[in-house]
């Protein structure tokens, strides 16, 4: 849940990058850290295990400056994608305001994408949050891999698999090279702030 300090005019919100293991969640944050120096307020924190896999989480705080008189601060997190780290995912998801679901475009990851999205839905439900109501963006990552001869899924198929019921905004991206990374984050921040605004004015 976002922290709003009306006296000091500060809004702090939390966006979590979710998705299957090795899908590019950390790479998204690393790209934002490298290219968004203007907004980055601290070093990126990564707690990894062997094979560069996220063990606990990655954390990157960014500041957006003043929006309608409020100083907007966003905390970006990733979760560990491997199935065995579900308790860590639940902890990181606590008090989440917006989610970027990073789906892996590789053919062989089709089932993993589906399972991870289902896992997200269940973990949100435990916090009494509906996946249909929380600000959510789906990012179809690794679109560039097709050029290297790796079989990737058509976006239409991924939309059908993951977004036919959710009908949330979705974007194509290549987190390693950059296209789509900033756009995904911008979209998620925009939806999240809109949702916070709606909640406050209810």
């Amino acid at each position: 849940m976002a922290v709003i300090n009306a006296k000091e005019k500060i809004i702090e919100c939390k966006i979590v990058y979710y998705g299957p293991g090795r899908g590019g969640k950390t790479t998204n944050l690393e790209y934002i850290y490298k290219t968004g120096k203007k907004y980055v307020t601290s070093d990126i924190v990564s707690i990894n295990t062997k094979g560069d896999r996220t063990l606990f989480f990655d954390f990157l705080p960014i500041g957006l400056g003043k929006i309608k008189g409020y100083d907007v601060k966003v905390q970006l997190y990733t979760v560990p994608g491997q199935a065995k780290y579900n308790s860590t995912r639940k902890m990181v998801l606590k008090n989440v305001d917006g989610i970027v679901f990073v789906a892996d475009s590789m053919d062989i990851q089709r089932k993993e994408n589906f399972l991870s999205l289902k896992d997200l839905q269940e973990n949100l439900k435990e916090q009494n949050i509906s996946i249909f109501k929380i600000p959510l963006i789906i990012q179809y990552n690794k679109r560039d891999l097709g050029e290297q001869g790796i079989p990737i899924m058509p976006v239409e198929l991924m939309e059908k698999d993951l977004n036919s019921k959710l009908k949330c905004p979705s974007l194509e991206a290549s987190a390693l090279k950059g296209p789509g990374v900033a756009e995904t984050l911008k979209k998620c921040i925009s939806l999240t702030l809109k949702s916070i605004h709606q909640e406050l004015s209810q």
């Binding site: 009306a6 090795r22 707690i47 094979g51 606990f56 062989i108 009494n128 891999l145 290297q148 001869g149």
Partner: protein
């Protein structure tokens, strides 16, 4: 695609999966390629290709093994531990936030740092029972029952807890060991205050509650369970906000109304309780102007 091209393509695909960190998938593709060579009359004598694939399979299997055996709870730097403690404590109440921070450290496997934090809270009398119970639970489950017993003995031999508190902690240890199927030998403590203990709820034993579920007993929502997020908690007093448009619920929640069936959700457990509405106010200003804030005092948990 002819046989040779198919094998080359599989090996290339496997190399790329390996680069992506998808080691299991890479192994599957290497094995597929190797099987194709070995089954092919024309290619089965290509020793160098077979050896190259076998080498790659061995290497990727070693990596898989390393990943699987990697420690899952490495000891982090103090800065990292402090960050975890700060990022995963959400209560506005500083004391509860401190407990949450210590629990988060334990959940991330930073046990010794968590124990230090719990000890500090106990020493400073910040929810000492809650801190002690969390510490004992953590030691019993994640370290060893013996460590928990040693800890309890240490506390029992000092004046850090009152006799009443020690009895309560002993009961907690006994219940926990029963649940875990462990036999413990704990030192005897005089049970003089035992009966008195059970009369009221011990405020410090209330754990941090993030939300509750209550059953409405009147109106169109009669017998429906409603979930409410807790905004503040001071001991056994929980505060929550109800939006102004939930008129039926607001009318039902009058000061003095007893709620016999409450489900309490905390970061570490879910438990039933009963309580009474002890305060009801309309918020006069700010973003939640017009909504109602309620105090619910838990009586039995």
């Amino acid at each position: 695609m002819n046989e040779v091209d198919r094998i080359k393509s599989l090996a290339r695909e496997a190399d790329l999966y390996r680069k992506q960190g998808l080691f299991e998938q890479a192994r599957t593709k290497y094995i597929e390629a190797l099987n194709l060579i070995q089954k092919s009359e024309a290619l089965k004598n290509q020793v160098s290709s077979i050896e190259s694939l076998k080498k790659r399979i061995k290497s990727v299997e070693e990596t898989i093994d390393e990943v699987e055996k990697a420690t899952e709870t490495p000891e982090l730097s103090e800065d990292m531990q402090n960050l975890i403690s700060n990022l995963f404590s959400y209560s506005r109440n500083k004391s509860l936030a401190a407990i949450e921070g210590a629990i988060a450290l334990a959940k991330f496997g930073q046990y010794e740092k968590a124990f230090m934090e719990f000890e500090r809270l106990i020493k400073d009398r910040v929810f000492p029972i809650m801190a002690a119970e969390n510490m004992l639970r953590c030691q019993m489950i994640f370290i060893s029952p013996e460590r928990a017993v040693e800890q309890f003995k240490k506390w029992a031999s000092t004046r850090i807890f009152t006799k009443k508190e020690l009895i309560s902690l002993k009961e907690f240890m006994e219940a926990l060991s029963k649940k875990e199927g462990v036999k413990l030998v704990l030192p005897e403590i005089s049970a003089m205050l035992h009966e008195e203990n059970k009369k009221d709820i011990n405020k410090e034993q209330i754990i941090s509650i993030s939300s509750i579920s209550i059953r409405v007993k009147s109106g169109s929502k009669k017998d429906l369970d409603l979930d409410l997020d807790i905004t503040f908690q001071t001991g056994n007093i929980l505060s929550f906000i109800v939006k102004a448009d939930k008129k039926e619920l607001i009318d039902f929640l009058k000061t003095g109304v007893k709620i016999p069936a409450i489900q309490c959700y905390s970061p570490i457990s879910v438990f039933p309780a009963s309580g009474v509405i002890t305060d009801k106010k309309q918020i006069p200003s700010g973003p939640r102007k017009g909504d109602y804030t309620f105090d619910l005092t838990l009586e039995k948990a």
